[in-house]
Amino acid sequence: MTVGVLALQGAFALHQRILESLGVATTQVRAPRELAGIDAVVIPGGESSTMSMLLERGELWEPLAERLADGMPAFGTCAGAILLGREILDGRDDQRCLAAIDVAVRRNGYGRQVDSFEEPLAVAGLDRAVNGVFIRAPVIEAVGSGVEVLSSLDVGSGSAQPVLCRERTILVSTFHPELSGDARLHEMFLESI
């Protein structure tokens, strides 16, 4: 099995390092032809507006959307979650999403970089907490009925926001497991496919 890591912009190399530490073959995807040999895709953190423009200009958007519609598994972190979601809130007017998972995502939902934070997160199916690293992170505002919420962030006064969601073989997190060097969420993704 080969996992493609979308390498248009962002923290793609860190995802590759984690996947390779798990013994998985990876390849960087920048051009449509590079989609051919992959069995799953990781969309990394970075700037979602930059990535979506490069996807369109490189004529990668349609072939990627088709692969996802055919059931190719995908893991998106932060910007990757925005791109894989069904709806973008507070995005650019021309910004599109791939609609692979039924979540609505608000860009920069926690504020600017000075508000970026780390916080331990309980994750369904894992016995120890995951270090949630949130960098200008998006907020998942709504999830469809087919979406499992695997982790939520306590935002006070009894409310919680979903931060790790799965629908079939699409996994998205609004935080960055690749920045903690913790391979467990990548393992969870690989086990689901």
């Binding site: 970075g46 507006s49 930059t50 970089q113 000075v114 690293v133």
Partner: protein
């Protein structure tokens, strides 16, 4: 789990934003209109400043941090991260930029230094800092002061890539040498670089800088961006190269694509067609001021 697990301003959070900017282009902009052009072209961040480096070079005088109103205007105009420059050693300008909510501060040699011996203590801030470096010793001193991203300095405002190449080769070449150094030689490297031994040992162990390494100063064409990416830069800063070119929107898009597809000559040819005139360039020999010499 600690009692107050929600932590801002950690090293991981500060270096993390730099990780997210990798493979991207950070563009100098002087107003909201330029910021929108940059974002439309696919910039991963903008650098708000009053004059681009080539104008600072031409006008002379003291260059300072930008007017808060101008920075606020740019913040409102775009969704991508906004960076701004403070003078070397001017920690009050930095405090003000943090209060304004900029996403990254560039302690920059492009502005006139405020302190001839000290850089800002960057550990004291929640907002992350990027600093310039011409060689590995300078880079490690900045990291020891708390910089979370290094950019090779090049020579800003010249449209001439030669200094950027020199600085990148110097920094990355020395990293390659330290990777091969034995334990006794690592002490000598620390001494020669005037840098903390612990950081030299970390480079030996990891074969890379502890923070992301971007390139700035002199990038004027898509080919320049691809050149520094192939040499090992992880992202690029473009200053005068975009808004001093004949067709800024086209040039900006082309440099974004060239930075992503830096190893694909066919794409580089395609994006370089019909861009009009690049910014006028300057020879190093004719410069009155070498901005890269600022920093200690």
């Amino acid at each position: 789990m600690s009692e107050h697990p929600h932590e801002t301003g950690t090293v991981r959070v500060k270096r993390g934003l730099a990780e997210m900017l990798k493979g991207g282009v950070i563009m100098d902009v002087v107003d909201a209109t330029q910021a929108r052009i940059a974002e439309d072209a696919g910039a991963c961040a903008v650098m708000a400043l009053e004059r681009v480096p080539s104008d600072i070079r031409r006008d002379g005088g003291v260059a300072r941090a930008s007017d808060p109103e101008m920075i606020e205007g740019i913040k409102e105009a775009v969704t991508i991260p906004v960076m701004a420059k403070a003078r070397i050693g001017h920690f009050v300008e930095a405090q003000m930029l943090q209060a304004l909510g900029v996403d990254y501060i560039d302690e920059s040699e492009v502005l006139t230094p405020a302190d001839e011996a000290h850089h800002i203590d960057k550990w004291a801030f929640t907002v992350p800092f990027v600093c310039g470096a011409t060689n590995l010793g300078e880079a490690l001193r900045r990291i020891s002061e708390g910089a979370c991203m290094i950019r090779s300095k090049g020579e800003a405002g010249t449209g001439n890539i030669v200094e950027a190449v020199r600085h990148l080769r110097s920094i990355l070449g020395d990293i390659r040498k330290i990777t091969q150094a034995d334990t006794a030689e690592q002490f000598d490297w620390a001494k020669r670089l005037q840098a903390p031994l612990g950081l030299v040992q970390e480079i030996h162990a990891t074969a890379t800088l502890p923070v992301p390494m971007f390139c700035a100063g002199g990038i004027a064409t898509p080919a320049d961006a691809a050149l520094v990416m192939q040499l090992g830069a992880q992202a690029v800063f473009v200053g005068s190269g975009i808004f001093k070119s004949e067709q800024p929107a086209l040039m900006a898009k082309a440099i974004v694509e060239a930075t992503t597809h830096f190893a694909d000559a066919d794409i580089l040819v395609k994006v370089s067609r019909g861009l009009g005139r690049s910014m006028p360039g300057l020879e190093m020999g004719g410069l009155e001021t070498r901005l890269a010499d600022r920093g200690w």
